[in-house]
Symmetry: C2
Subunit: 144 residues, 2 copies
C-alpha cells in the first residue's frame, strides 16, 4: 500500500498541475485545500523540489510550482521517489535491487518470474499515468 506521504505527494502534485504556469502556490493553501498537515507537506514538497519536479520561491508572492510539464510527471516517478521500490521483492527491483536472503539462489527461485511480471505490468501502467492525464480525467469525471 502507498504511504500517506505518497498519497499526499500525488494530491499536491495534481493540485499544482491544475495550476500549471499560473504562478506559485503557497504550502498553506495546498495544505488547506487538500487536507494535508502543513508541516508534513513542507517536507514532501521539499523532496519533490530536490527531485527537480517542483521549484519554489521564497517571500511574498512565493510558493511552489511545477517545473516539469504535467505530461512529463507520472505516478511511477512519484511513487519511487517517495515510497521507494515498486517491486514486491528487493531482488526483482530495477531501481532498488538488493540480494534476497530468502531465495538462496536467484537463478532457480520459482517466484521471481511472477513478481517480475507483476513489476513490469505495474510500471507500465504507472508510467502511463501522467499528471496531465489525471487532471484531464478528473475534469471529465467532475462534469458528469
Amino acid at each position: 500500500m502507498l504511504s500517506k506521504k505518497c498519497k499526499y505527494a500525488i494530491h499536491a502534485l495534481i493540485y499544482l498541475a491544475e495550476r500549471y504556469e499560473q504562478g506559485p502556490v503557497q504550502i498553506q493553501v495546498i495544505s488547506e485545500k487538500q487536507h494535508i498537515p502543513k508541516k508534513f507537506l513542507e517536507a514532501i514538497l521539499l523532496e519533490l523540489r530536490h527531485a527537480k519536479i517542483l521549484e519554489s520561491k521564497k517571500g511574498k508572492g512565493g510558493g511552489y510550482f511545477l517545473i516539469k510539464k504535467p505530461s512529463e510527471v507520472n505516478l511511477m516517478q512519484v511513487m519511487r521517489l517517495v515510497d521507494g521500490p515498486i517491486a514486491l521483492l528487493p531482488c526483482v527491483s530495477l531501481n532498488y535491487y538488493e540480494h534476497c536472503d530468502e531465495c538462496r539462489n536467484e537463478k532457480t527461485c520459482g517466484i521471481r518470474d511472477s513478481l517480475i511480471a507483476v513489476r513490469d505490468e505495474t510500471l507500465r501502467i504507472l508510467e502511463q499515468s501522467t499528471l496531465a492525464k489525471i487532471v484531464k480525467r478528473e475534469k471529465q469525471l467532475g462534469l458528469k
Copy 2:
C-alpha cells in the same frame, strides 16, 4: 514490498508442495532447510492451517502438510492472507476496501482508475502463479 513473514510463508509452502502427499513435515525441518526462525515459522504455519491450506498432526511422526492441491494454492491467496490488501490504495481494494480520506470524492478521483488497473493486472498474474507451477519452474531451472 512483501513482508518477511509473507516470503517465509511462500517458501514454506513451496517446500511442502514439493513433498505433497508424502506425509507430515516437522516445523523444525522446514525451519532449517528454508532458514526461517522456528518460532516465527510456527505462527505462520498456524495461520496457513487456519486458512485451510495446511493441516497438522501432533506427536511423534507429526508435522505439517498441504491439504489443498499445489495447483489450487496461488500467490494471490497467500499474499492476501499474510500481508493483507494487494491494491495500492484501500479505496481500490476488493477484499479490504476502506474509504479513503485523501480523495475527497471517489467518483472524481483521477488516480483510482490507474490503481484499479494495477490491481487487476497484479491479481491476474498472482492468481495464475500456483504452487504447482512454481515447483515445476524450479525443477526446470535447477536442471540447466
